[in-house]
C-alpha cells in the first residue's frame, strides 16, 4: 500500500521502538503532526527546540535507547545545533528530524529555509537530506543504526515538505547496510593479552574510565575486573557512576577538579589502563607531564581517539564491555593470585594521599555552602536518583559531592559544557522514568538559559526537582577572575535575577527558598514530597570556589588545594 512520507515517518519510529518524541511543530512539518495526532507515540511539546534535543539526549543517557526530537525548518532547525553539538561531544545516541522547505525551493532563500545539513555536518555523527520519499524508510533505518552503533552519536535527518507529503510503497528494511561503516566491537586478542601482561607486571596501576564504559553498558564488567585485580579506579566527569563511588578502590574523579589522590595516583602510576576515555585537556592538564611514568593501555571503540592526544603503548580498538569480558575470562589461575600483596605498597601510598588531602568545606551557622546542599540532596535521596547538572561550579560540586553508585544516573554536558543543558535533560529522563526522582543541580546563571521548560514540566506532570545553587554570579568564570584576573569581576555578577519562587509559581510549579543552612534540609524534604516540579532557590556563599583545582595548562600535580 502506498503511504505518505509523514505516515512512513511515524510508522518507522514505531518500528524503532520509539515511545516518546520531543518536538515543536511548524509550517513544513504540519503533515507529520497531523499523523501524530492519531498516533500512540507520546509527543512532548517543549518551549524551545534546543530543549527538545537536550531532552532527547537526557532520555538517551538515562535509558540507553535512542532519543528522538522533531522540529520544523529554518529557526526550528538552527535551534537544535547546540543540542546536537552537546550530544556529539558526549557520544549520545539521538536522532533529530528537521523539516525543510520543498526540494524545488532549496537554495532559494525560501521562508524558514536553512541549510541545516551543511550547518550540522561538523556536529553530527552523520546527517541526511532526504531528496526522495522512496529513500525515506531506508534513511530512517540507517539514522537509528548509526546513532546507536559503534561510538554512538547524534544523527540529523532533514525532511523537505514534498518528501513528507509524497507517496510511495512502504517497506521498512530489516537491517541497515552501509558499506563505508563497520565499527570494531571485538578487541584484538593479542593486544588484550599484551595489556594483561602489562597489568600483571605493573606495581602502580590505575584504571582511568570514561563515558565509554557507560555507553557500552560495561560498568559491571569494569567493577568486577577492578575488584578481582585490585586495581584503583578513577573516572572522568563522563564516567561518574561507571564504578561504585563507595568502593574503597575508587579514587574519585581526576583532572582539573579531580581529587588529590586521583591526580597524584595518575601522576605516579607505572601503568594507566584507559577504558572509554579520550584524554581530554580537562583531564590531562599539561599533556607532556600527564602520567609521565606510565605505560598506557587504551581501550576505545573509536580508533581516532587512540593516540590523538597522548602516545598509547597498547591500543585496543573495541567495545569496552566486549574487551573487559574477554579480559575477565583470561585472569584466572595461580599467576593472578596474590594481587593484594603485589599492590600493597601502591594501595598504601594512595591511602596516604587520601589522608593528606580530601575535599572538604566548612559549613557554618550563617551562610549556606553549595557543597552542603549537594550533600544534603544526596543524603535525602539516599543517592538513588537521576542527577543532571548545568555547567560551571554547580556541575563540579555535583561531581565532587554527589556520590554515584550506578551508571546512567548522571546527565551532564562534559565535552561541550553547555549551560542550560541540565533542566531539559532532566525532563527527558523524567519522561522515561516517571516514578524516579530526577534532580537538576543548577546555577542561577545556567537555569535561566532554559527556564522556559518549566511550562513543559508542568504541562506533562514531569516532577523534576531543580536545585539552584544561587550565588548571584556566573560562579566558575568569577572563580577564574578571582584566581587569574586579580579579582576583576568583569560582567560575571548577575545583578538582576528573577525571584525564582515567584517565577516557579507563575509557571504553576512549586517554588521554595532557603537562605540559611538550617532551612536546606527541610526545603529538600518538602520538594521531594511534592508530586510536581519544584524550583528550589538556595542562596549560597557568593564567593565559594571549586577545589582542588589544576589551573588550565598546568600539570595535575600542581593542584590548588585550599
Amino acid at each position: 500500500m502506498e503511504r505518505t512520507g509523514a505516515e512512513i515517518f511515524v510508522e518507522s519510529l514505531r518500528k524503532e521502538g520509539v515511545h516518546t518524541l520531543f518536538g515543536y511543530p511548524g509550517g513544513v512539518v504540519l503533515n507529520i503532526y497531523d499523523v501524530l495526532y492519531d498516533s500512540d507515540i507520546r509527543h512532548i511539546l517543549v518551549r524551545h527546540e534546543q530543549a527538545a534535543v537536550h531532552a532527547a539526549d537526557g532520555y538517551a543517557r538515562a535509558t540507553g535507547e535512542v532519543g528522538v526530537a522533531l522540529v520544523t525548518s529554518g529557526p526550528g532547525a538552527t535551534n537544535t545545533v547546540t543540542g546536537l553539538a552537546t550530544a556529539y561531544m558526549d557520544s549520545v545516541p539521538i536522532v533529530v528530524f528537521s523539516g525543510q522547505v520543498p526540494t524545488h525551493l532549496i537554495g532559494n532563500d525560501a521562508f524558514q529555509e536553512a541549510d541545516i545539513v551543511g550547518i550540522t555536518r561538523p556536529c553530527t555523527k552523520h546527517n541526511y537530506l532526504v531528496k526522495d520519499v522512496r529513500n525515506l524508510a531506508r534513511i530512517i533505518k540507517e539514522a537509528f543504526y548509526l546513532a546507536r552503533s559503534g561510538r554512538p552519536g547524534p544523527v540529523l535527518v532533514d525532511l523537505p515538505k514534498d518528501v513528507i507529503v509524497g507517496r510511495t510503497e512502504y517497506v521498512y528494511p530489516e537491517t541497515a547496510k552501509l558499506r563505508g561503516y563497520n565499527p570494531t566491537y571485538e578487541g584484538h586478542l593479542g593486544q588484550i593479552k599484551k595489556a594483561l601482561k602489562a597489568i600483571h607486571e605493573s606495581r602502580r596501576p590505575v584504571v582511568y574510565a570514561g563515558g565509554g564504559v557507560i555507553l557500552s553498558n560495561a560498568s559491571r564488567e569494569l567493577t568486577e575486573f577492578a575488584r578481582r585485580l585490585r586495581l584503583p579506579v578513577t573516572t572522568t566527569l563522563m564516567g561518574l557512576g561507571a564504578f561504585p563511588g563507595s568502593d574503597p578502590l575508587f579514587l574519585g574523579m581526576l583532572g582539573m577538579h579531580g581529587t588529590y589522590r586521583a591526580n597524584m595516583a595518575v601522576s605516579h602510576a607505572d601503568l594507566l589502563v584507559a577504558v572509554g576515555a579520550r584524554f581530554d585537556d580537562r583531564v590531562t592538564g599539561k599533556i607532556d607531564e600527564f602520567a609521565p611514568n606510565a605505560k598506557i593501555v587504551h581501550v576505545d571503540i573509536d580508533p581516532t581517539s587512540i593516540s590523538k592526544n597522548v602516545q598509547v603503548d597498547i591500543p585496543i580498538v573495541g567495545d569496552a564491555k566486549n574487551v573487559l569480558k574477554k579480559m575477565l575470562g583470561l585472569v584466572h589461575g595461580a599467576e593472578w593470585g596474590g594481587r593484594d600483596e603485589a599492590l600493597q605498597g601502591w594501595h598504601a601510598e594512595i591511602e596516604a594521599w587520601r589522608r593528606a588531602h580530601h575535599m572538604d568545606y566548612g559549613q557554618g551557622e550563617e551562610v549556606i555552602k553549595p557543597q552542603y546542599v549537594v550533600e544534603q540532596l544526596h543524603e535525602a535521596t539516599g543517592g538513588r536518583c537521576i542527577v543532571s547538572t548545568e555547567v560551571g561550579q554547580n556541575q563540579m560540586w555535583a561531581a565532587q559531592y554527589f556520590r554515584l553508585e550506578e551508571p546512567r544516573c548522571w546527565l551532564t554536558s562534559g565535552g561541550l559544557g553547555t549551560m542550560g543543558y541540565g533542566f531539559p535533560a532532566a525532563i527527558g529522563a523524567q519522561a522515561a522514568f516517571p516514578d524516579r526522582v530526577v534532580i537538576d543541580i543548577a546555577g542561577d546563571g545556567s537555569i535561566q538559559m532554559n527556564i522556559q521548560e518549566l511550562a513543559t514540566a508542568v504541562q506533562y506532570e514531569l516532577p523534576v526537582k531543580v536545585a539552584i545553587l544561587n550565588n548571584g554570579f556566573l560562579g566558575m568564570v568569577r572563580q577564574w577572575q578571582e584566581l587569574f584576573y586579580d579579582r576583576r569581576y568583569s560582567h560575571t555578577r548577575m545583578d538582576v535575577a528573577p525571584d525564582f519562587v515567584k517565577l516557579a509559581e507563575a509557571y504553576g510549579a512549586l517554588g521554595l527558598r532557603a537562605t540559611r543552612p538550617g532551612e536546606v534540609r527541610p526545603v529538600i524534604e518538602q520538594a521531594l514530597a511534592h508530586p510536581g516540579p519544584v524550583l528550589m532557590d538556595f542562596h549560597v556563599d557568593p564567593e565559594e570556589g571549586v577545589y582542588p583545582m589544576v589551573p588550565a595548562g598546568a600539570p595535575l600535580t600542581k593542584m590548588l588545594l585550599l
Binding site: 555536518r121 561538523p122 555523527k125 563505508g180 593516540s307 590523538k308
Partner: protein
Amino acid sequence: MRHTINVLVENEFGVLARVAGLFSGRGFNIDSLSVAETQDPTVSLMTIVTRGDDQIIEQIIKQLRKLVNVLKVTDLHEGQYLDRELVLVKVTATAETKPEILRLMDIFRGKIVDVSPKTYTVEVTGGEDKIRAVLELLRPLGIKEVVRTGKVAMPRGMQNGG
C-alpha cells in the same frame, strides 16, 4: 612530511564537503585535491596531498575512515605509486620566445593547445618535479596565467615489498 592519500568515497552530494570540512575543522592542510568518478559510477576517488608529522597523518587517515561515506583510505608510499598533474600555461609569445616555447614543449612532451597573436597556451602533464621544472623554465619567457589540476595518483602494478 607530504603524503598522498587516495580516498574512495560514495559518489553522493555533500561528500566533498564532509572531507573538506574535516580538514578545515581539525586544522589539517590540503595541498591539493582532485576528485572524479571511478569505473563504478556509485564511487568516486579523491587524491589528497596533505602534510604533517606522523601523528597528524595517522589522525587524518583515521578521521577520514570514520566518515560514513568513505569506503577506503590508502596512504600511498613514496616510490610505490604513479602520480600525474596537468598544467595549462599561457605564455607570452614573441618572435624571440616562440622557438624556445616549442623547444621546451618538445623536451617535456607538452602541447601547444591555443594560439593567439601574443600568447601560446601549453599543456603539460607529469609528476610534481616535471611540472615544477616546466614552470621554472617558462617563467623567464613571461607566464600570464597558470591552471593546475592537482595530483591524481595510483599505486603501481608491482609493489616493492608490498
